[in-house]
Structure formats: structure tokens, C-alpha cells
Point group: C2
Chain length 225, copies 2
């Protein structure tokens, strides 16, 4: 559709990512983008449909990067669990290499997912490869079976993304990891091994105790002692 941007301009455009990441797209005036990139407003509008198109271009690019890296990781050798780790590593690496783009993506997630192309790209870049890995892991025995791998992929995506963000964005002094390799290893372990010491021990005891969706229910939160 709009993938004919002169590379000169495309590269300048990245200068706008930082602005958008910090202030959000809404608070970023087109004139700011123009000034930050050195591209005059008229030229911007000559190539792009508008403000959203700027975001769309930047994020499509990011998602291509991640999608590519994840795809490579997911189709590499080894067990599904090893490839899952590689995929997570790929995502984290790209995130840490492009912190501004990621902040922009997450900060304007609503807008992003409302742009149809981007929603698809997101799906293709992350969710669907991870979902497949989960399924393959059941086959090769390296991963435990999970109901609804699609939803599980979302959960994993959420965990990885949020982790990457909290390292990237917030000034969190992160003890866990200073570089992409150790951070991704860290998240992978968290997701792979879980947080509990001996799985199964308290499983199933509470399952039906919380709320029945419809009825008034003051005690949604904690199980009685």
C-alpha cells in the first residue's frame, strides 16, 4: 500500500520515534515530527497519509523485525522448548535494540491495534509462531500440553513484552539482566519453570470457589481461611 517510502525519508523518520515514545502520538504535533526529522511538513504529507501513517510505518517496520527474528528462531533446530527460548530471546533482543519503537507500540497500543494492518502484523509476528511452538512442544514432549494454545501465546506475549518494557522504559534498576541475552534467559526460565516450588500441590482446591460471573459477589477476591 504505502511501502514505497524513499529510504532517505524512512531513516529520518526514526528520529520521530523517540518523541512519540515519550509523549505519545497524540501529544506529538506534526510540526514536531517535521522539525525532529528535518522533513518539511508538506513533504511528510506528500508521502504519508497523516499522523497515523507515521506510527504505522514505524511499527510495521518493528513488527517485521520481530516477526523475522522470531520466525528464524522458531524454525531453527532443537526441541520446541529450545526454539521457544530462542523466539523469546529474539523478541527481547529486538525490543532492547529499539526501545523507543517498543514504547511507542505499547503506549499507543490501542491505536496500533485499530490499524488493521498492524493488528495482523502483530498476530503474525508473535502470537501465531508462539502458538505453533506450544503445539509442537506437545508433540515432541518438551512442553506440557496447554488448553487453548492461542490464549497461552497471548499470555506469554504479555509477559515477555511487559518484561522488556519494564527494563526499557521505567527507570527500574534491573538486577535481573543488563543485556538481552541474560534478560531473555531470565524470562524464559520464569515462563518455562513457573514460580511455584512443587507444582500440583495446591492445584484444584479453589477452582470453583470464586464468583459466579452473574450473581452479586462481595468476596470475589480471597478464599476464606
Amino acid at each position: 500500500m504505502a511501502r514505497k517510502l524513499p529510504s532517505k525519508i524512512a531513516s529520518q523518520l526514526y528520529a520521530a520515534a523517540e518523541l512519540i515514545a515519550e509523549r505519545g502520538l497524540e501529544a506529538t504535533r506534526m510540526d514536531d515530527i517535521s522539525e525532529a526529522t528535518g522533513i518539511p511538513k508538506a513533504t511528510l504529507y506528500y508521502h504519508l497519509e497523516g499522523k497515523n501513517a507515521v506510527l504505522e510505518f514505524l511499527l510495521a517496520d518493528l513488527l517485521d523485525l520481530i516477526g523475522g527474528a522470531v520466525a528464524v528462531a522458531a524454525s531453527g533446530g532443537g526441541t520446541a522448548s529450545e526454539r521457544l527460548r530462542a523466539a523469546i530471546s529474539a523478541q527481547i533482543s529486538v525490543m532492547l535494540e529499539h526501545p523507543h519503537l517498543c514504547q511507542a507500540l505499547v503506549g499507543d497500543l490501542g491505536r496500533a491495534t485499530r490499524l488493521p494492518d498492524l493488528a495482523l502484523a502483530l498476530e503474525a509476528a508473535f502470537l501465531s509462531p508462539i502458538q505453533h511452538l506450544l503445539e509442537q512442544g506437545v508433540s515432541d514432549g518438551s512442553l506440557r500440553p496447554v488448553d487453548d494454545p492461542a490464549t497461552a501465546a497471548s499470555s506469554i506475549f504479555g509477559a515477555v513484552t511487559m518484561t522488556g518494557l519494564s527494563v526499557t522504559a521505567s527507570g527500574h534498576r534491573v538486577r535481573a539482566a543488563s543485556d538481552a541475552a541474560s534478560l531473555s534467559e531470565w524470562v524464559y526460565r520464569l515462563l518455562a519453570e513457573g514460580v511455584v516450588t512443587n507444582p500440583g500441590v495446591d492445584a484444584g482446591s479453589i477452582a470453583s470457589r470464586h464468583l459466579g460471573s452473574t450473581s452479586p459477589d462481595p468476596g470475589t477476591a480471597a478464599p476464606p481461611p
Copy 2:
């Protein structure tokens, strides 16, 4: 600060949540909100500082709800792992009860986290209780030790939130869970037990294989058994 909104108005305001969830705050005109709530624009501006304040009010409320429920869960009885499960259940329950608010929160996450009060509320409602649970779990032996519980809390938050969203928002036909109880049980298990069949087997073998961001450091993540 602005917490004296007449309840009459406050309740009407929720009618705007759906609009915001669907179209994003930016695409929602103040006149739309006015019309949807039945509150005339002038009155809105009499009580609220502007558009952002609408979002801020709604989300502050949501975060109070979640924060309250999570706090109750986290301070209940049982092991840390049981309370972690209860906390997750609380969050999921509130999310499923207020899908519009959640979509609004996530959709305009950037804006939300840029509102200082909300960033703090988010921290207080989720992150910090979960972080404490993780720490307590190490003490009582029900959870395995994790480097940097603060970041781990973010990861868990990401997973839970994304899961809730993918059930709520996208038309995903979710096999995993139709109600809050079973969904939260499902996420808890995922996080508690991990996705891998026999933990530790492939740890450390690949850490440095994908792209080298400077130092290969395969061991920072989890403590040995």
C-alpha cells in the same frame, strides 16, 4: 485532588467507557462523551479538567477496584502461592467484570502511564503486592526464589493482563475458560507450573547462540536448585 465528583455524575461517566474502549480516547469527542452520558459539556468541564481527566477518573476507579481486591487476596491466609493465585483470580475477576474499562486502560496505556497518579495507582494495585507475594513465597517455601521480584511482578502482570484482554477484547473463542474462576485458575497454573515438561534440562545451552549483544552471560537468571 479531584476526588469529589458527585456520584450522580460519576456513575453516568461509565457510559463513556464503552466509547473510549472501542474508539480510543483520541477518537472520542468530548461532545460524544457528553451525549453518551447525558451530561452537558459545560458541566463536564465544570468538574473535570478535560478529556484526560475523564480517562483518569475511570481508570483510577478501576485500579482502586483491582487494588482493593488484590490487596484482600494478598493478605488472606494460606501460603504465598495460594495467595498469589487468589490475587490473580481477583485481577481476572475485576477485568472480566469491567471489560470496557480494561480495554480503555490498555488501549490508552501510554496516556495512562503518563498520568502520574495513575502510574502510581497501577504500581500500588498490582505490581507491588505481587512483588511482595513473590518475596514471601521464598520465605514460606511455596515459591521458588526469583532474581529481581519487581521485574518478575511486571512479567506476571503482563501475562495476566494480556490473557484477560485476549478473552475480553478480541473475539477469540476461548476454549480455556468461560468464566472468571476457570480462566484465572488457568493462568495461575500456566504461571505457577511453567510450560516446560522437565525444567532445567535445556537451561544454559543456548543462551549465547542468538545475536550477541556484547557479553554472553548464561547464568544470571535463576538460582540453581
